[in-house]
């Protein structure tokens, strides 16, 4: 009887029409580090971080200034082959989610970049699941010179989010917006160049496994010519 009663309870709860959430965005009962929809740039000392995190950030700044390609341990470098598998596996699903408007962003147009006409290897929804729609999208392209290039876009503003960048880490700009350009090398076959910036409420991250000057120039060039 108990089993049946609890089974009925589940059916009742799962089978009942979803009760509407009153409002997807309410004020959080805590102080946020960011301002919704905005980018804040602060020095390490100005941020509300623990002493050990601040010390790690200072070490990262020193490493970045000393090395064009930072030597790091392998676990800090993405597994691009694994990411390609993930992107390929979700490609059809993303197309369907976009058609159903369950990815609530307009993917950046790459037609004015060197990714124009290049095949999209795959894509993954990301960000926050809000009102049954995702606020982010990651696409992997096959670039003629760089090989795999991943473009991640997360509309932070859409879900009331924002970002805090560290002033000391900013070493590039994308159409006037502050950006962080990093090249990291682990073991010989594990490396990454990445470019992160924020524009109009959207956080962008470009990644490729190449770590030479051309990779850095290409990522900057792609970023500067993306359009919404």
């Amino acid at each position: 009887m108990k089993i049946r009663a609890f089974s009925m309870l589940w059916l009742f709860v799962l089978g009942s029409p979803a009760l509407a959430v009153q409002d997807a965005q309410i004020d959080p009962p805590f102080k946020r580090a960011s301002v919704p929809g905005k980018l804040i740039v602060k020095s390490i000392d100005e941020q509300d971080l623990s002493p050990s995190v601040k010390e790690n950030a200072r070490a990262q700044v020193r490493l970045m200034k000393e090395h064009k390609v930072m030597p790091v341990s392998d676990h800090r470098i993405p597994d691009f082959a694994g990411m390609e598998s993930e992107h390929r596996a979700h490609k059809a699903q993303v197309a369907q989610l976009l058609a159903e408007k369950k990815i609530n962003i307009s993917p950046a147009n790459v037609d004015a970049t060197s990714l124009r006409g290049e095949s999209v290897l795959g894509a993954i929804p990301s960000g926050v699941l809000m009102k049954e729609s995702w606020t982010g999208l990651s696409r992997m392209f096959n670039h003629p010179h760089l090989g795999r290039v991943i473009l991640e876009e997360t509309d932070l503003a859409k879900a009331g989010g924002g970002a805090v960048f560290t002033k000391e880490m900013i070493n590039a700009d994308v159409n006037g917006e502050p950006a962080v350009l990093l090249s990291m090398q682990g073991s010989p076959k594990r490396s990454e160049t990445s470019l992160m910036w924020f524009s109009n409420g959207v956080l962008y991250l470009l990644r490729t496994p190449k770590v030479d000057d051309r990779a850095r120039d290409e990522l900057l060039n792609i970023a500067q010519h993306l359009s919404k």
Binding site: V13, A24, I26, H75, T135, T154, G161, V180
Partner: protein, 145 residues
């Protein structure tokens, strides 16, 4: 030492099995950083999760705060809004509970809840704090998995 399960009521084992199943579902979704809330899952799980499965484990430090608000309650025992948080993990932060709808056998409490989540992470490579924003749910979002 063998653990004797014969004293554990079967219905509790069934609930635990289902709970395990739903946790498994939650770990097989998308790569990249994702965040969501879900409410009233299997009638008793309310939670918000920020997680990363992009093969970059060990980098971003994930955080989540979850706020659970009862929207209906048929009973004794009361159901109060409450706040949970989790953080510091490199692959998943989960703030949730699985007892919101439980009363006692003699006096079961059936409640429906809204769950609100706030999701963020710290990227140590770029020294950036990313506030992903908030999620909300009034159901289990099962169609998304």
């Amino acid at each position: 030492m063998r653990v004797k399960l014969k004293f554990v009521p079967k219905w509790i084992l069934m609930q635990l099995s289902a709970f395990t199943l739903i946790l498994c579902f939650s770990q097989s979704v998308f790569a990249s950083i994702s965040a969501f809330s879900r409410a009233n899952c299997l009638g008793f799980v309310n939670e918000s999760i920020t997680w990363e499965a992009s093969g970059v484990f060990g980098n971003n430090v994930l955080y989540v705060q979850s706020y659970h608000v009862p929207i209906s309650s048929s009973s004794a025992g009361g159901a109060f809004p409450h706040f949970l948080s989790d953080g510091g993990s490199n692959w998943r932060a989960r703030a949730g509970d699985q007892g919101d709808t439980f009363g006692t056998l003699s006096c079961p409490r059936i409640s429906s809840w809204n769950v609100y989540g706030w999701h963020s992470y710290y990227d140590p490579d770029r020294s950036a704090t990313i506030d992903l924003g908030s999620s909300s749910a009034s159901d289990c979002n099962l169609s998304e998995w």
